[in-house]
């Protein structure tokens, strides 16, 4: 039997300006009152936490005189950023963990793959819908920061730094969930892998930093073991290692960048010895390193996920 000649393939189909899968994902996420309800609850909780911190800080700093307002403002700012980081670190990946594995479980994955959608289109549609919602949550809490600004003690650069951290964290952890969803056999295992990795990054890097700080911090200040002066190389190496560890977790990156700004009034450059005569060598601030690092890792994870989906039998 002779194979039939291949009929001419239809001309390249006219594409929608917005990917239909992305539209469907957004529609599914936003349809009904769930999204608005969730958003409302998160804003309500964040406002509640901010007010609680305001009350406590106001009580504690009542006898500080003129500086009390700034202390309260800083406290509120820390509380709001803490809430934003919680959303970015824990809520954002929850929206992507089941993105691909859920399609498998609903038996729609093969149907999607048998269409003209490319793996990148499928992935980016899923990511855009999930990340869009996470960013909406982050942006929706921004007006609450006006309270911190009103009270003082916070500058716009600090706000920008915190927003960079939150967004980079939301992006990386969303992509992590998406990637796990591509490789994991079920949504449950994708959730376990994703949150395991997130906790390792958040807690593990903190523990490592604390464990090594006894050894690293004196070196960064120029003192080696036994009280001798550390060589320039030893000191630089210790500073790089400490900076690397501080830049792994958004919590340590935020705290160290805030302290650096308080000491040096410079958001982008970081010094281990701000009080020293020359100020020591200057490094990029941990939040900047984290932002670049997280975005790069997110791109790598996306490529891995696309390769997985691109395989004819993922």
């Amino acid at each position: 039997m002779e194979p039939d000649s291949a009929p001419a393939l239809a001309a390249a189909p006219q594409r929608d300006r917005i990917n239909p899968l992305a539209l469907r994902e957004l529609d599914a996420r936003m349809r009904g009152g769930h999204a608005a309800g969730l958003l409302g609850v998160l804003i309500f909780v964040t406002s509640g936490v901010a007010l609680l911190v305001y009350a406590v800080a106001a009580l504690v700093s009542a006898n500080q005189g003129a500086g009390a307002s700034r202390t309260v403002g800083t406290g509120v700012f820390y509380a709001l950023i803490g809430m934003q980081l919680i959303v970015a670190a824990f809520a954002a990946p929850a929206l992507t963990c089941g993105a691909i594995s859920g399609e498998r479980e609903r038996k729609t994955f093969d149907l999607l793959r048998s269409t003209a959608l490319t793996p990148w289109q499928i992935l980016l549609s899923k990511l855009a819908a999930s990340l869009g919602f996470s960013l909406l949550i982050l942006l929706a809490t921004l007006p609450l920061f006006s309270l911190a600004f009103l009270l003082g003690g916070i500058e716009l650069a600090q706000m920008g730094m915190a927003l960079c951290l939150s967004i980079a964290t939301a992006i990386l952890f969303s992509v992590l969930g998406l990637c796990a969803s591509c490789y994991a056999p079920s949504t449950v295992s994708a959730v376990v892998v994703t949150y395991g990795a997130i906790l390792m990054l958040l807690i593990g890097s903190g523990i490592l930093l604390l464990a090594l700080s006894g050894f690293l911090l004196p070196l960064t200040a120029g003192t080696a073991s036994g009280g001798r002066a550390a060589t320039t190389g030893e000191s630089a190496l210790a500073q790089v290692a400490t900076l690397g560890l501080m830049s792994l977790s958004p919590i340590s990156a935020f705290v160290s960048s805030m302290l650096n700004f308080d000491n040096r009034n410079d958001m982008l450059r970081f010094s281990f010895n701000p009080a020293g005569p020359a100020g020591g060598p200057l490094w990029p601030a941990p939040f900047a390193i984290l932002t670049v690092l997280y975005l790069l890792v997110a791109i790598v994870l996306l490529v891995l996920a696309a390769r997985r989906l691109g395989r004819i039998d993922p």
Binding site: S5, L9, P13, S114
Partner: protein, 320 residues
């Protein structure tokens, strides 16, 4: 004669399990081809390879000359795949379902609504366009799956066990629809566990067992080869002796026997069932029925039983 689909020495493993081992077959353009075998015979694996959703471990599959391994996107553009399980998005209506997949296939937005309406009409769901997917019956879902698979007007339809789990009415509807699609010039590949199910639907059958092709050929030839005698069941009222005597005297009847009372548990006491193998055509079968009626046997039903697939495979194994 031209072939739309060709599989050459296709093998596929999943770990240590051999799903397909050197499978060869071809399906003619605008024909309906049945892939028949028990659970685990490799039917679905073969169908997913044909849909470019799996790669063959070795060998090659071509759809209109396009290799599933080298050019999966072209193969997907030419095939419409209907899996055995209905893939469902919650909070979607039947019309939205078809429209969504049409959009995923690149159908221009201006054409989608009309296309969805036409396809739903084709599968007799025109009145169900606004019905949520969750409320559709299994038969409706199967027909909707067919509409979804037709959204990009594929040349080849790959139907994985399309009749499984349907009630009699649903089966009739889906069978009718498949016939209609065939008349529209589609090449159709259908998997099934029961060869009898494909009678009147497929003109060519490939029998699979444990990943091997055990028999292939035109439906009629293969059915005659696998089932030289028609297994028949005759139920009637009253005593069995006369019926048994008439059957035994017919030269085309083999192995006539009464079914024990235990097998007929639940039937009224006067109903008896006789099973026999009949070697003759429909005219001779009709003559046998007339003989029974003339002898005063009150025949209630006179039907040809579908031979079990297991029995067929035993015959294939015996070299039938």
């Amino acid at each position: 004669m031209t072939s739309a689909v060709e599989a050459r020495a296709v093998s596929r493993r999943f770990g240590k399990t051999i799903a397909l081992d050197g499978v060869e077959f071809s399906a003619r353009t605008s024909s309906a081809h049945g892939l028949v075998g028990p659970v685990g015979s490799g039917k679905t694996t073969l169908l997913r390879i044909l849909a470019a959703l799996l790669t063959p471990g070795s060998g090659d599959v071509r759809v209109y000359g396009h290799s599933v391994s080298a050019d999966p996107l072209a193969v997907r553009a030419m095939t419409g795949y209907v899996p055995s399980e209905f893939g469902q998005y919650s909070s979607m209506t039947a019309s939205e379902y078809v429209t969504f997949f049409a959009a995923c296939h690149g159908v221009p937005s201006s054409e989608r609504e009309a296309l969805a309406r036409d396809l739903l009409q084709l599968v007799d769901l025109g009145h169900r366009g606004n019905t949520p997917l969750e409320t559709l019956s299994p038969g409706m879902r199967r027909r909707l799956s067919l509409a979804r698979a037709l959204a990009h007007d594929p040349l080849v339809l790959l139907l994985d066990d399309p009749l499984a789990g349907l009630d009699p009415r649903g089966r009739v509807e889906v069978r009718e629809l498949i016939r209609e699609l065939r008349l529209m010039g589609k090449t159709i590949l259908i998997t099934s566990r029961n060869m009898g199910e494909l009678e009147g639907l497929c003109d060519h059958i490939t029998l699979l067992e444990r990943g091997h092709v055990v028999a292939a050929g035109e439906y009629g030839v293969l059915a005659a080869r696998l089932r030289p005698h028609r297994p028949m069941a005759i139920t009637f009222l009253g005593e069995s002796d006369a019926a048994l005597a008439v059957a035994a005297s017919n030269p085309g009847v083999f192995d006539a026997r009464m079914l024990s009372d235990q097998t007929l548990a639940g039937a009224p006491p006067l109903v008896s069932e006789m099973r026999l193998n009949f070697d003759g055509d429909y005219v001779e079968a009709s003559a046998l029925l007339n003989d029974l009626l003339r002898a005063g046997v009150q025949v209630v039903s006179f039907v040809e039983r579908a031979d079990s697939l297991e029995a067929m495979f035993e015959k294939v194994g015996d070299g039938a």
